[in-house]
Structures are given as C-alpha cells and as structure tokens.
Symmetry: C2
Subunit: 223 residues, 2 copies
Amino acid sequence: MPKHVRHKVRRVAQRGHYDAPTIHAILDAGWVAHVSFADPAGQPFVIPMLYAREGESIYLHGSIASRLMKTVGEGIATCLCVTHVDGLVLARSHFHHSMNYRSVVAFGKAVAVVDPTEKAAIFARFVDALIPGRAAESRPADKNELAATALLRFTIEDASAKVRSGGPKDDPADRDLAVWSGVVPISPHYAEPVAADDAAPGVPVPGSVQRLFATGAEKERAA
Amino acid sequence: MPKHVRHKVRRVAQRGHYDAPTIHAILDAGWVAHVSFADPAGQPFVIPMLYAREGESIYLHGSIASRLMKTVGEGIATCLCVTHVDGLVLARSHFHHSMNYRSVVAFGKAVAVVDPTEKAAIFARFVDALIPGRAAESRPADKNELAATALLRFTIEDASAKVRSGGPKDDPADRDLAVWSGVVPISPHYAEPVAADDAAPGVPVPGSVQRLFATGAEKERAA
C-alpha cells in the first residue's frame, strides 16, 4: 500500500487496490463522479458531475457562470468518488448483508483548461465517455460553445480503489438456518433508444448506440 | 425556492426541486450515498456508503473502529449526495450531449445512535433498504453484532433535488444535420440470483428476491 495515499482502505483491507489499471478501469466504466470540496468555513459540498479520464487527468465541465466550476477551478483541495453497484449480497443474518461494488476515491486539484483547440478535443472525449464512438457521429463544438463552457483538468495526486465481489460471508453458527443466501447481480440495462421529437427523418440509429446492444457490450464497459 | 437551501440549483433552474416527496423518492430509490466532510485543514473526503432513510433521518453504518464513523459522528458539517443515472442524451452537437438523471444533495450533521433496541430496528431498516422484505426473512442482529457496529443518524437540515428527463435540446440551426438524436434509457438490471457456495440445501429463492423480477418491480423502486 503506497504511503502517500490519503484514503487507505483500513476496514477489510483486502478489498483495497492501489494500482493504476484497477483504478483506471473503474473510472472508465462510469459516467458520474461525485466531486467534493469545502468552503473556507469547512462546509463540505458534494456534487454529481459528468467526467472523462485521460491518463491521470479527470476532466470536468460546466457553465462558465457556475460557482462550482469557479471554486474548484481555483485549485483548492478536491476529492472525487466513482462507484458502481454490482450486486445485492443477501446473508442469513442482517449483519452480513452487503453490496458488491467497485469504487475509486481520488484526491487532487483542478485547473481550468483555456486553450480552444485543447478544449475542443476534451469536449470530444466527454462525448465518447458518454458512449464510445459518438464524438465522430455528431457536430464538434464551435467557438461560441467552447467559450460558454468551463473545462477543468483535475489531476489525480493519489487514489484508492475498493472492490467487493463474491457471495455472503455468513457466520458458521448460522449455517443451519433455513435462510436463502446468495447474490443478486446488478448491472446497467440499456432500453430501446427513443428518437427525439425533432429527430432528423430517416436517420438510422447510429453505430455507437447499436454497439450498446451487441452481446457483451455491457461487460466490456464494466470490465 | 426556500431561502435556507445551501445548494440552490442555479444552472438550468427548472431542474431544481425542493419538496420533500421528490427528495424522499430519489433517496429511497438508491443504495449508495456519497458522504462528504472536510478535515480541520479543509481537505475534503467523499466516501460511498450504504444508507437507509426514515423521515428526515438518513442512517449510515460502519465498524466502530472506522475513523470515518468517528469523524462524521462528532457532528461536523456533512453533505451527502445520491444520484441515479436514467439515460444517455444524444444530441446532434457535442455541446448538447447530456444525461438524464435524478440527484439529491443534502446538508446536515450526524450523531451516533447507541440504544441497542433502536440500533436493531435501524439494522432491519438497512436490510429492507437493500431489498424490501428481506429483514423479516433473515436473522436479526444479536448483541455482539450491534456492539460491533457504529450507527449514525444524519439529519437533513436542507436538501435539493435536480432532475433532467426527456430528449436532447438541439439548436434550431442544427435541425438539418443528418445526425440521429434521442435518448438511450438506462435502469438497474437484476440478473438471475446466484446461491452462496454454502447455501442451505433445499431453501428456495425468497419472496424478496422473487419480487425484484416481478413485472414493474424496477419501476416501483425507481418511482
């Protein structure tokens, strides 16, 4: 376990992971990061935000008028968390009920990205983080759109992952209770796409969306 | 919009909601809250935690040895957020890509619950928050289990909900682009239950789990 990590996994230590591949895979499987910071009085805030990762950078975006973007963009200490719920763990006892999940807690600071060319490239990355391949299917941001959007680059200084998987851990003393025990797996389910009210007539559902419904696509995203 | 709310929804103000039924419904549809607080140096932390709601109380639990439980249980300013991802919003332009979601940000403080009878009842509530009806199917916590678990009651002082639903909002100037636009709905999917390796032989999948697979059950949870 690296010494500099601010959030060491102390409870059930074998669930903790500190390697970049594990941390990156969990981050890349998500859409929403919970971003937290404190005001000078110590009042914490936690806000859900879309994000896109590139190396040790996590990009966040918002309106240039957003107070949050201004506050976090000043480079104050920031912490963010991404969590995936993978299953309900049902034990014989109340005490051993749990969830299967994967989560990452990352600490760092954010700076504003201002160069328009760089901003446009990050915009495209956001769209592909929503659904891979979508950036190439849709119109890139123009000058006005780039100017209206604040982009922050949060740099991961340290991070930890926590993963629980597998079945319940019942007490041996409970073995003979006639109570079902096991896991109900949970994963995101994509329903049939709904075209916009003003959708362009005759335009088919694009490749990015079709691939969501291809066998194994959900697993690939989660893996 | 109530004056005392710390997190007013300023960007796209029509997405903001401040009524208890909306806030409670979003909280009750979730499993994991992202709980944030700051240390005395202003360093923020955000940690995913299971929770159960009762009125304006949100219960959190953890090991009595957990630093987090001790820190938050001292009654410091705490903020938590619950978010549900409801769909990918695909527009003709990068700029108008978005997600459909429901989120609640709540501010308050937590105190430890120490009375064993009260703790046992809250334990049961946690199990039913995981999957309704499960508490009655499994063994309640005993004295040792109650003693090993720290329970916190976070009281909501103010909260706001933010909801985006519906299709993309494309620019009129983009109408003629031959780009598919619309929404891919997302919801939690429960897969076939997996019995534990040491499952009691001959015990059928219980009612709580069967109800997850009944038609409309997911909608009821999300509603």
